[in-house]
Symmetry: C2
Subunit: 224 residues, 2 copies
DNA sequence: TCTATCAGATGTACGCTGTACGCACGACGC
DNA sequence: GCGTCGTGCGTACAGCGTACATCTGATAGA
């Protein structure tokens, strides 16, 4: 029986680029980019490793395609609302997409061959700002500031090696343990009286900073 | 001659953790984190790969130590100046350190075992803000906003796959080439009339955004 | 001065990775 | 029945991190 690697049914659904990319995204969501090996993706698809290479050129090409999937999940700022709510909604949507696909954070803006969803997204954001009265230099300022903040926040949030307050507590102990007590009083106070307080959720810092930025851009837009 | 792998002189300088870490930083600065293999670091030190393991526990431990080297290069906000110039100087210093050590950007805040330079840095920043009148919640807001922006900017800047305007031009052609002309009019206008203009330097966007953030924090501090 | 000890450098080896290359096999047009 | 072709597979190789056992050169004690 040569066609042993069938689906749960006897019929074998043919491998496609889309199926490969989707399986890879799913795997990376769980195992990170480090854990994303061609062999694992192949196993998830019940297929031999080399079968993937019929549909993607190599691992880098696969990652290119995965990034475009993430871009396709971001809400485009297309509605009739003003630029501020539109940018706010896009920022939150981007943040959520990056939270779902943490492996993507460092890669979103690094593609040599950006996919259609990627280009479409940037085109829509720029268009929205332009039509709201931003001149081109101001678009550059705003886009750089907004995306810097969004990606940076996602990056630091993602990298936090804890998910719950209990984790955080354990880690704080672990962190300070090799050092004399009170060597870092300001940091200790900050961690103990604020970050470790029940109810503190670092995620909520995002909105605060976002409003500061949006207000700042609004003010700059008025005086330009 | 058993001790063939000597220095340029006959005397062999002993391997130390510091020498290993320094060589690794140097190598990563040139070759990136991907290119940082234990074997290459060993070769740079004229030493067998396994010799490194006498001084670092494993690759992860080596990277931990490398990150602390980067932290040690950031100017601490300790002077008598106000919080605003102090934060500005720290931000620029951090940006420059990340530009020198691009491989570090995604890792700075992800260490399970932060080194002394790391903790000292955070302690100093928090201390500066506290003594300038920021309450603890406001410190969290400010730190999150500032570092999010700094790391995010470094990330997007690093990822830009070009260094000169000529590179950028070539890449823009390459990017749009697979798509119909005018499919992305806003993006095309933005790239052609602004980003590709001689004299445009993306790096300078950093200061603009930084001032928006610092002004926003100052305003928030006043109304709190 | 001879010898025991031991830290530090090494060599070998294993399981993992991406992927080049050639082959096998089912589907299809004639 | 027979080429032709697209798709999946098997083999193979170089390079990776690192476990483990071994070797060696310097030092300490007699």
């Amino acid at each position: 029986m040569p066609v042993a690697t069938s689906d749960t049914e006897g019929t074998r659904t043919p491998l496609t680029r889309e199926r490969v990319v989707q399986a890879a995204v799913q795997h990376a969501d769980g195992a990170g980019l480090e854990g994303l090996t061609m062999r694992h993706v192949a196993k998830a698809l019940n297929v031999a490793p080399m079968a993937l290479y019929r549909h993607v050129a190599n691992r880098e090409d696969l990652i290119d395609a995965m990034i475009d999937v993430v871009f396709s999940e971001i809400a485009l700022p297309l509605g009739g609302a003003g630029w501020k709510p539109a940018m706010r909604e896009r920022a939150l949507s981007l943040r959520d997409a990056l939270a779902r696909h943490r492996w993507a954070i460092g890669l979103m803006e690094s593609r040599l061959r950006p996919g259609p969803a990627n280009l479409r997204h940037h085109d829509a954001v720029i268009g929205k700002l332009r039509s709201a009265g931003f001149d081109i230099a101001m678009v550059a300022h705003a886009y750089s500031l907004l995306d810097g903040y969004i990606y940076g926040f996602a990056l630091t949030r993602m990298n936090m090696p804890f998910d719950t307050n209990a984790d955080m507590d354990a880690m704080a102990q672990h962190m300070f343990e090799p050092f004399p007590a009170n060597e870092y009083p300001n940091l200790a106070e900050f961690v103990n009286t604020h970050v470790l307080k029940p109810g503190y959720d670092y995620t909520e810092e995002f909105e605060y900073g976002l409003e500061v930025i949006l207000d700042g851009l609004e003010a700059a837009l008025g005086t330009d």
